[in-house]
Amino acid sequence: MSIQANAKHQDPKVVFYNDPKIRSLFFQCFLLIAFLALFYFAYDNTVANLKKRNIAQGFAFWNVEAGFDISQTLIPYSAASSYGRAFWVGLLNTLLVSGLSIFFATIIGVVIGVLRLSKNWVVSRLAALYIEVFRNVPLLLVLYFWYGAVLSNLPEPRDSIAIPGDIWLNSRGLLVPRPVMLDQFWVVSLSVLLAVLAGIAVHRHARRKQAETGERLPAGWISTLLIVGVPLAVYFAVGQPLGLDLPVKGRFNINGGLNLAPELVAMVVGLSTYTAAFIAEAVRAGVVAVSKGQTEAAHSLGLTDGQTLRLVVMPQALRVIVPPLNSEFLSLTKNSSLGVSIGYPDLVNVFTGTVLNQTGQAVEMVSVTMLVYLTFSLLTSAFMNWFNTRVALVER
């Protein structure tokens, strides 16, 4: 303290341009001005260029009729809809393909990660091979592979491969029966909701009982029975209010049913097989990070293998696994923008592709698209912060 005070005392002797504070202030002002100047430079040029080339500006196009069709739409959309609507269609398609891929990638990734840890040499080597192959080739190549080398070699619609259960597979995609909800279906939905609530209540009760008496209830089994059994019973009780729209062979295509286009299938398969390799590595690292002593201690306390995994190893491993897992999910979502390369109508394809071309407004399209992805990544980091505070080690 006293040395610092002394130093402060001698400050006036330093020439002002050698004073760190002034230097820092000067440098920062310079940086700020340079930064703003750069922005102004870009902005000024852009405005001048757009004006000179008579390119429209602003978001007036948002409500203009789009005039083009999109191959996959989750919300009603036609060529008569607006560009704004096309944006939402693209965004939903991005979310759909990301959601499906995250689901499958997690399953494949966890399985491969666990297999990689197996003591079985053959199994762990093959899992390692999978991981190394997919980690060391570009995602785009994986997508091209599934789309160009696998799916496009399926037979044409008239020679579709029939899979029992009214499922058809051809080069136009995978056709499955589409469930159609009939009038009484809301009763079934309601029963699912109630069963879930009941399941939660059972869990709470079991936990309280264990805390009070030490007695364990088979809460897992009871709630599973509730959640599966009750809706099923209700479903049959109200007369099976679920119809099926079956795919039927038409002149060109198989009509009806739910058509999963090859672009969607290739995206989901490609993204999930690729990301699974990274998830597998994250899972492996997480499990390895839990020290063996934890397992041994749990065993010596008399916990079964399942309980050890569920109550001791997993909570600790998850703390290590979730952050990288989360960033894999985020990069998967960002990678879904590669849909444009195989014709999947995701946000980038629809918005920075077709809409940009029809309107010519590059600045608006690219900015909006970037903003969407930035929002995704902010939401992800917000979740991460919440998760980190929740699972942070409470040190005593």
Binding site: A42, S118, V123, L141, T352, V366, Y373, L374
Partner: protein
């Protein structure tokens, strides 16, 4: 003193010979312990070996035993026309080899590309091999001299007798290498500056760095490329006409710099405070401290991360295809669209070849990164 021998137990008779212990090593034991230790393991082993036994022979037959090595169109690889089953059509790669590795680079000038590849390999081996001599000369070569030589070599300079080859003749693997090299050469210095900015005490410098890093890391590369491709020309005065490859290079450099900054920041954070304090106590200024004390240590410990970033960058160069640059994968796609070569089984062979090329490079770098990581771990052990 008491007699020690009378208190302690000493065996007085030789014990009889025993049978040798049960074998604890050897292939059978290994197999029992590793492959068939439990019912589940046995089932897994059999299932997985079954899959291997089912896939592998077909794969080897396809790749090595029955392929067509030389072809002039897809007809030469057609099983229907040849009337016997055929494997991979390597003739496709053979026929397009020049296009895949040099693009439309004039045939008479391709030695320049080869020389470029050789110099690049020299530079990389020089700076990455831990035992290579004159490390700083190697760094100077790769980061200062090589970009200039490489550019002159590829793009040409009529004064010294190298004819000009415009960038739209470049293509294939050459473009992949150019983009990833520029990415790494540009991103490392910028990444270091951004990382220092992010850890700076100056709030504005920190803010600017954080905004840049997080912005770029928050969006997909493809949108950055779109930005470079369609927005960058609008940002500059009307007369400037940036070349399409140059725009993509700016985008890629910008993008990888943000990721590099995060890798470098990790290294900076790992340096103990004592190092900073010791440097300050010696009277070194900020830049002296950073250049002489902190960065050499920080960069060294993040070499694995930098190499991993580079692997990512190398794989991401494939995305430039979407903004119309003909990189390696794009030239394969273009060759597949060639009507003479359009057939159902062609893509499989072409993609296998592409995967092989990318895998060799990425896996090699990954192994290097792993070995460096092990090396550094022992080096840092106290």
């Amino acid at each position: 003193m008491t007699d020690a021998t009378s208190l302690s137990f000493v065996r007085s008779a030789v014990i009889p010979e025993q049978r040798p212990p049960h074998r604890v090593s050897g292939p059978l034991v290994w197999m029992r312990e590793n492959l068939f230790s439990s019912l589940l393991n046995t089932v897994l082993t059999i299932v997985f070996l079954g899959v291997v036994g089912w896939v592998l022979p077909g794969f080897i037959r396809f790749v090595l035993l029955t392929p067509v090595w030389v072809a002039s169109s897809s007809k030469d690889c057609s099983a229907d026309l040849l009337q016997h089953p055929v494997g991979a059509c390597w003739g496709f790669i053979d026929a397009h080899f020049g296009y895949l590795f040099y693009g439309q680079y004039p045939a008479g000038e391709r030695w320049r590309v080869n020389l470029f590849y050789a110099l690049e390999a020299l530079g990389i081996v020089w700076i990455l091999l831990p035992k290579a001599p004159f490390k700083s000369a190697g760094l100077a070569f790769f980061f200062l001299l090589f970009p200039v030589i490489g550019f002159v070599l590829l793009s040409g300079m009529p004064i010294i007798g190298l004819s000009t080859v415009q960038t739209h003749y470049w293509g294939g693997f050459l473009v992949t290498i150019v983009i990833s090299t520029v990415g790494i050469v540009a991103s490392l210095p910028i990444g270091v500056v951004l990382a220092l900015g992010r850890r700076s005490a100056m709030p504005i410098a920190r803010l600017v760095s954080v905004i840049m890093i997080e912005f770029v890391r928050g969006v997909p590369l493809i949108t950055v490329l779109f930005m470079a491709n369609v927005m960058f020309p609008l940002f500059v005065p009307d007369g400037w006409r940036p070349d399409s490859l140059l725009r993509v290079l700016v985008g890629v450099g910008f993008f990888s710099a943000a990721y590099m900054a995060e890798a470098v920041r990790g290294g900076l954070q790992a340096i103990p405070r004592g190092q900073y304090e010791a440097a300050q106590a010696l009277g070194l200024g900020y830049w002296q401290m950073m250049i002489k004390i902190i960065l050499p240590q920080a960069l060294k410990i993040v070499i694995p991360n930098i190499v991993n970033n580079f692997i990512g960058l190398f794989k991401d160069t494939t995305l430039v295809a979407i903004v119309g640059i003909f990189d390696f994968l794009r030239t394969i796609q273009a060759s597949l669209s060639d009507p003479n070569w359009r057939s159902g089984q062609m893509p499989l062979a072409a993609y296998l070849f592409a995967a092989f090329v990318y895998f060799i490079f990425c896996y090699g770098m990954a192994r290097y990164s792993l070995s460096m990581e092990r090396r550094l771990q022992t080096g840092n052990r106290h």
